[in-house]
Symmetry: C2
Subunit: 309 residues, 2 copies
């Protein structure tokens, strides 16, 4: 039954990260033609923003070493955006060569994770991003900035809200057009989410520039999403079938599953354009290719439904 709830947006943009964040964190190397079919199927299920791949050095992420090849043969669907992750200027050059029109960079709210993931201080990483953002914007590209570890960090524990606001403002000042607030280890709860978004808007950040990126490690991702929607956020990251996670973070599990998110949004009468059953079929198809079941509750439930009919 579709029953709206006061104070929520009427439309939400689902930012699909399964093909990049998901497959990047799977141990299996997926053939390029399977990835291409995956991205095509995601668009067919109604997703309108699909992060397709990453131009990080293949040494670090061998799973996505085929980024240029993937994009080369990809038939773009009308009205669908295909951003890619870009770690540095070299990555940007490769992305521009591949004809991308939108990129994302990957920052950290904590010094420890910046050091471990980027081998830099936060300040040094911002300096590294500056020419990437400047050149991308000059070329007419939108630039999303992921901010990892916005709530807790496996080495530092709780992350102070002021610290996240400071990093977020630095990235917006560089010219980033969107920020994705990441709960990389999944420890956030709804009050913390509300407080962080409140602090960001108080510091002058428009909620239209904010996205949320929750992990379901402790089962909190949907409750946190509901809290973020109440704060006016209208872009939510999710991963088809719950693919992926973060291999650097102790005890992290996968991203919020897109199907679980869309189930809630459908019930709330919030438009996304996504057909949840068609998407679940795609996730089952991908789960077969990966040789393991999808962790998405909705995918599991819908597949049992089919099985018993």
């Amino acid at each position: 039954m579709r029953v709206p709830l006061d104070g929520l947006p009427s439309r939400v943009t689902v930012y699909e990260v399964g093909a990049r964040d998901g497959l990047q964190n799977e141990s299996a190397i997926v053939p390029v033609e399977v990835k291409r079919e995956f991205v095509t199927r995601l668009a067919g299920a109604g997703l309108r923003v699909i992060e397709a791949t990453s131009f990080v050095h293949p040494k670090w992420v061998p799973q996505l070493a085929d980024a240029a090849e993937l994009l080369g043969g990809l038939e773009r669907a009308e009205g669908v955006r295909y951003p890619v992750l870009v770690p540095n200027e070299r990555g940007l050059d490769r992305a521009l060569d591949a004809g991308v029109t939108e990129i994302a960079i990957f920052g950290s709210a904590t010094e420890t994770f910046a050091r471990r993931n980027l081998n830099r201080t936060i300040e040094e990483s911002v300096e590294m991003f500056a020419p990437v953002v400047e050149r991308a914007r000059a070329a007419g590209l939108d630039v999303r900035a992921y901010v990892s570890m916005c709530f807790g960090d496996p080495w530092e524990g709780d992350v102070p809200i002021e610290q996240v606001v400071s990093v977020a403002r630095r990235l917006l000042d560089l010219g980033c057009t969107e920020l994705s607030l990441g709960d990389t280890i999944g420890v956030a709860t709804p009050g913390h989410v509300t407080a962080l978004i409140g602090a960001l808007t108080e510091s002058g950040v428009d909620t239209g520039r904010l996205a949320v990126h929750f992990h379901d490690t402790y089962g909190q991702a949907l409750a946190n999403t509901l809290a973020a929607l109440r704060c006016g956020v209208t872009t939510v990251d999710a991963s088809a079938g719950g693919l992926g996670g973060c291999p650097y973070a102790k005890s992290a599990t996968g991203n919020l599953a897109t199907e679980d998110l869309v189930w809630m949004l459908d019930g709330l009468g919030i438009e996304t354009g996504v057909d949840v059953r068609r998407l679940a079929e795609t996730s089952l198809w991908m789960a077969e290719r990966l040789g393991r079941p999808s962790p998405s509750r909705v995918v599991q439930a819908l597949s049992r439904e089919q099985g018993s009919e």
Copy 2:
């Protein structure tokens, strides 16, 4: 990090159903001494309401055929309530003999489920419950009424809110002291939850008499709980480790895991008295006895944490 959220209660009663609703729906028959240790450990982890067993006929629920034996040898902890499920007058007699001080009955919001689960119409089931409630109240017992299929029914689909309100009011009129609104197949979303609770309070039901009972079939249980807390509900059903489900309902999976609930409430600074780590240890212990992993995300995450330390 503990960050409260405006409009939520400062304290929540966790109504633990793992020993009854959980074990009733496991295929394994658990020895009575294991059940007794389970209940004792639940109290040790800080739970203050533990539904211990059911006095339904052993033919229907062989898993709980040892109800009298379980209670006979159970050492009650100070300040802990141990309600039991009672299906009819014969069950009440057995429960009174066993010295229980609180019971629960199990009603349905839909005709189809009443027929399948109780072999009666809704009206006939209310007639069956009437003397149970009357006699229990006369004996000084509190009586909770479960209301199943409050949101969706696998055979009837969407369940009209007026229908749930009507059944709920009938059960309160009988003298029931608490209603547990069950999303037996897990299809509810937060707007629907808010609308149902709103309709009940508009019809004159005090939110202090309401509990919510969500299933995580589609991953919605915690988001729905958050919505219910915002409506003023302060009693939430959950099952340690996510034990159990509903064997009659197509594609149903387990109850909301108590650990996942307490993780959220802890983060919101809402008092429950429950020690989530101690509870997770108990759920891991029980999972070993059942020979299968706990579906609780928190139990899984905490056990990986320990493993890597």
